[in-house]
Every structure is written in C-alpha cells, then in structure tokens.
Symmetry: C3
Subunit: 143 residues, 3 copies
C-alpha cells in the first residue's frame, strides 16, 4: 500500500474550461508502480472547480462556459454577496454545481479514463489567478 | 488492507435515469470481507453519469429526466458542438452537472446506504449503447 | 495504514445551507495521527446534500439557497412525484445537482482545505429533521 500527495499550482487562466490532464499526470511518475488504486484531485478554492469531460473538440469547452454563464447569471438583483464584483456570487454557485474534487481509478499503472475523458479546470472568475490543487494517489503496488 | 477492482458493462438503456444498485452490488461478494472501507464507482463516458437518489418510486426517475432535459435544452442556437445530433452537447453538460463517480462507505460487510438511496445510471443520449463502469472496493478486512 | 469511521447525527436545521465544518472535524481527534490521507463524508439521504463553499460571509449561504430554489421550482405541473408536498421532488433534484458526498485531502494531521473553504450541509426540505452522515478517514500514519 503506497501513498503519494503533491500540491500543484495551475497557471492563471482565462474564465472558462481548460484541459489539464497532462499537467496533472506528468507530475506523477509514481502512477506506474500502482496495480489497483485511485487518484484524488482537489481544488482549494470556492470560485473554480474541476470536472471530467470531452478531451478532443475545444467547442465542448466553450459551449460549457456559455451554458454555465447563461444559467448562473451575473447581476441578479437578489444577490446579497457581491463585494468582489459581478462574477463573485456566480462563481461560488458554479463551484457547488460542478464540484471541487474528482476521483479516478488507477489500473495497471495508468489512470483508467475513457478514450474521450479529460480533466478540466473550470475557472469561474474573470481574474482568478493561479489555482492550487492537491493530488493524492494511493493503492496496491505491483509485485 | 484489501483492494478489488472490476470493469462492468451495463446493458444499453433508454435515455433517462435507471436503478442499477443490484447490478453493481451483485458483482462484489468480496464486500462481506470488509469491516471499514469504500466503494468507488466511475463511469468511463462523457455523455452519461451516475448519482444516488430515491430507490422506490419510478416517478422520481422520470421527473429527474424531465427536469434535466427541460433545463439543458437541445438545439440551442449558440451550441457549436453538435456534430453527433441535438442530444450531443446537452449530454456533455448533464454529465458535468451530475458527475461521473460516486464513493459510498462500506461498514461491516455492506454498503452503508440510506434506506431510500439507490445507484442511478443516468443515460443522456438517445442511443448511448452499452456503458462501462470501473468499480473499486478497498478497506480493512474483518478479523 | 489506519481506518476510522463514525456515524454522526446532525441536528435538524432549517431549509438552506449551513456551515458544519467544526461539527465534523471535532469528532475526529484521530486526524492528528495521519500524515497523508483522505476524509470521506457521506450523507444518507436523498433530499439533502453536502458541498464545500465559502466559510466567511453568511450571505453566500443565503444566496445559494435563493439560487437553488429559484432554479429548481416547486409546483411544476409536470412533477409526478409529489406525495410529500411541494418541496419533495425539488429536494431530490437538488440532491443530485449538488451531490451526496465529499472527499477532502488530509496532510500532516489536518484537513487540507483552502482558507475560505467550509463544509456545508444543504437542507432541501422544509422539515427535514435530523440528518445522518457517515465520515470515514483513512491514510498513512505519521512515524
């Protein structure tokens, strides 16, 4: 049974959905040692989130941003929390709708993702800055 | 400390929400050996998802399908990703709204679900075909 | 490798979003022993949920309740499942939108939450009563 945990800083990115699979996986050469296990990815913020979705067509990422920004509107007259600007409360809501962590199976030394699955960073602020994630992998080692 | 992992193919199902608790649990007689642990269920697709919800009244499943299909509409003029038909981009959005994995506690050899909780496969495509899930159970064995 | 699991009863709370970080963490003095690990929190209900969000301004919690109650409306004419009242089916939908479990990294004896992250109980019923959660912590012990 092995445990590895790292904090990774993701570079500032524009508001929207961004593919970060390689940025995460490349930090974990230890994946190769694990026969059966899990990778847990956790974002330490309440105005950004992470999800899995289609890893090929960039239109999926831009349509996703359009959907969430049309559905969770800025400047609703009933928002009381808006001290940081019109993207503030919508970012908190999107973060709870999408979620702050992912858990992905590890099988024979690799993440067991579907062919079309990629890890997305979802940046909900206009100027969110760099984002911290904590990645934990654990499992049974190969003989 | 024990680990078990299996890939399970779920039969093709119609668009909507389907109860699959027994299909999953019946594959894991090893549950009985575990005193404290977790079951992780992961769907390897970006147009279907899994969730826990009410396991008794089928109206909950059909109302759930109505809610998600009314909220995430087909044929929005601003979708750019629609090469696979009108149910394509809505399926990706629903998949991120609902999520692609579940983690459920194991206690004294059983899944520790509430009385009314069941595992749902959420099929967002009209013809999604068979779906693959990876189920991992791990924990401390009984003496 | 250590495992600890407890069932915790959360007191009845009004419909809305409530900060419960301290109620949960104070039950686990064992956190101190763990160098790298995870805490899993699971709610045994289909009409309440849990999430992480902003832990400082109570307006975030009340805006969150307003958003979800405006988005998932009561008394939709197409609901078939409404035997328990107008808050019944909306509570099931919100529970699937937000989710029933959280997994949080443990690092050097502490939950590795961001500065502004707190654990929310999301009560979707008008009179939901007491709610049961199962909390599991596991990981590698310090030397």
């Amino acid at each position: 049974m092995s445990w590895y945990q790292k904090e990774i800083s993701l570079d500032s990115s524009s508001r929207g959905f961004h593919l970060v699979t390689e940025v995460v996986v490349s930090q974990f050469p230890e994946l190769k040692k694990i026969k059966i296990g899990l990778m847990h990815i956790f974002i330490k913020h309440t105005s950004a989130s992470i999800t899995l979705n289609e890893n090929y067509d960039p239109d999926v990422r831009s349509d996703m941003e359009k959907y969430f920004s049309k559905t969770v509107k800025e400047n609703e007259p009933w928002y009381d929390h808006n001290s940081e600007g019109p993207d503030d409360m919508p970012a908190h809501i999107k973060s709870t709708l999408i979620g702050n962590s992912l858990t992905i199976p590890i099988t024979n030394g690799h993440l067991n993702l579907g062919t079309w699955q990629g890890i997305y960073l979802c940046e909900h602020r206009n100027n969110g800055g760099s984002r911290k994630i904590i990645v934990t992998i654990f499992g049974e080692e190969k003989n």
